[in-house]
């Protein structure tokens, strides 16, 4: 009985590592898009905002996510996609990234002027996230 419970916990921890860790570290709604390494690793001097984007079968996750960022700090988009598309980042300056139909693509940019930056999948016509970039 006890072993079974322990196994279950372990299984849970293993399979849902990312979601479990982040929700424990930060209760905010945006937690699931911040990778655990950014939350825990204090050795890493430049803070980054990492957004995991999945495009599968005509669906995008996340959509319309509300996130927070900082001026001058890198924002990383990690994209798994089964279709080609284009990511548009509406910031100053603007950025456009070509998305290919393959997993583990990574795009990085920084925002120089504070504002509400929308990240949009162009062909699918979906807003992935709005990042409030502050100083």
């Amino acid at each position: 009985m006890v072993t079974a419970a322990a196994l279950l916990v372990a299984a849970c921890g293993g399979s849902q590592q990312e979601g479990g860790d982040t929700s424990a570290a930060s209760p905010s709604a945006s937690a699931s898009t911040i990778s655990p390494s950014d939350m825990t690793d204090q050795q890493q001097p430049p803070n980054r905002l990492t957004i995991d984007v999945t495009i599968q079968g005509g669906n995008v996750t996340p959509t319309n996510a509300a996130l927070q960022g900082k001026v001058g700090e890198p924002i990383v988009l990690r994209v798994n996609s089964d279709v080609a598309d284009e990511l548009h980042v509406h910031s100053v300056p603007d950025h456009t990234f070509p998305v290919e139909a393959k997993p583990n693509q990574q795009f990085q940019f920084t925002v120089e002027v504070p504002g509400n930056v929308e990240i949009e999948l162009h062909d699918m016509n979906r807003v992935v996230a709005s990042v409030q970039v502050r100083q």
Binding site: V92, T96, G115, V127, Q132
Partner: protein, 445 residues
Amino acid sequence: MTSEPTLDVLAHGLGGSTDLPIPYTYALLGAAWALTATFAVVALAWRKPRFDENRPGRPLPLWVTSAVDAPVTRWIVAIVALLLTAWIAMAAFFGPQNADNPLPGVFYVLIWVGLVAVSWAIGPVWRAISPARTLYRLLRLDRRGSRPPYPARLGYWPAAFGLFAFVWLELASPDPGSVGAIRTWLLVYLVVTFAGAVWFGQRWFARADPFEVYGVVASRLSALRRNRDTGRIVIGNPFDHLPTLPVRPGTVAVLSVLLGSTAFDSFSAMPVWRNFVDDAAGSAVTATLLKTAGLAVFALVVAGTFTAAARATGGVDRQRRRELPGLLAHSLIPIVIGYVFAHYLSYLIERGQQTVILLADPLQRGWNLFGLGDTEVSYLLSMHPSVLATLKVAFVVAGHMAGVVAAHDRALKLLPSAHQITGQLAMMLVMVGYTFTGLYLLFGG
């Protein structure tokens, strides 16, 4: 890059970021000020009407009026504007069909917001620069003899529809940033404006051109105006100027479209609404229909609440009650302008600069008109978000206060003395409602 337009549905068809939401405390402070001011006005302010549209004002030197009205000035301004229109048309047709085209910036920033700022500062300028009017004068069409009179009951309704068509393109259409879409809109606008004038004469411009009517509305808050008897340019209290807004069929509709669309602009950026549209709409067409409905609902709510509040008084007969919304419509002008500036100030200043820079090289051939290509956009406002947030709240609250003051003063004139306080309560509450909603939307919900 292909020639396909690559702009997106966001940010009014322009690239770049949007304003950060205002901080919660700012919204609260603004709301508290608006509420306090409203009650102060209702409970403590003057009991005799103070503002009078027939007050002469302080005349400016005679040469100012002569210079402004001189045919040579008018022709120079009109021809320069016509050449600028040709320049922009060249960019629209032959320039790059993407974010480097100045057309979206000219359309959504310089015309839509810039016109309000200029009209507020110096008066209704669209009449002087309107390319359709200039063409009409150049072709000497006013010489034509018999024309059907412009139907009085149409009033400003054509302009209200034109304004709705504008905000529809900006906020509800599938691709507001597409150069092709804006070009088509402007061509239809020019044809309708010009053909109507050929049919009805110049009055069509004054009643049906959405930009001209918008400019007239904004100009009523200006300190500069004309003496109604002599036509001389005078400077005076804007509150004396506000009630000169012509009351015609459609006046309330014009103001409702302006206020409702600005609110919808904020609302449609909220995740709640976006998720709803994403989930409910299977295709781009249904998404557009949903957004159109949302936009229309916002305008209708403003029109409905304002009309109901203006009529909610005792002691007037049925005829008077029906007239009241129109007679009070001018009190919405400061609210509209305050709200427009709160929303679009950073757009006007920062995207305005960007547009002017793009206009220096409309075909992307390395032209560098007036050395503008070497300049860079200054993001001074966006770099200081707290200053920007303060300005936004200040615009909303100042617009609200001015609206309340104007409505109070007019109520003293229009309502029978026994109902002057109770008769304006509903209007005050509705205005507080507009302002709270506006601040809530600026705060981001």
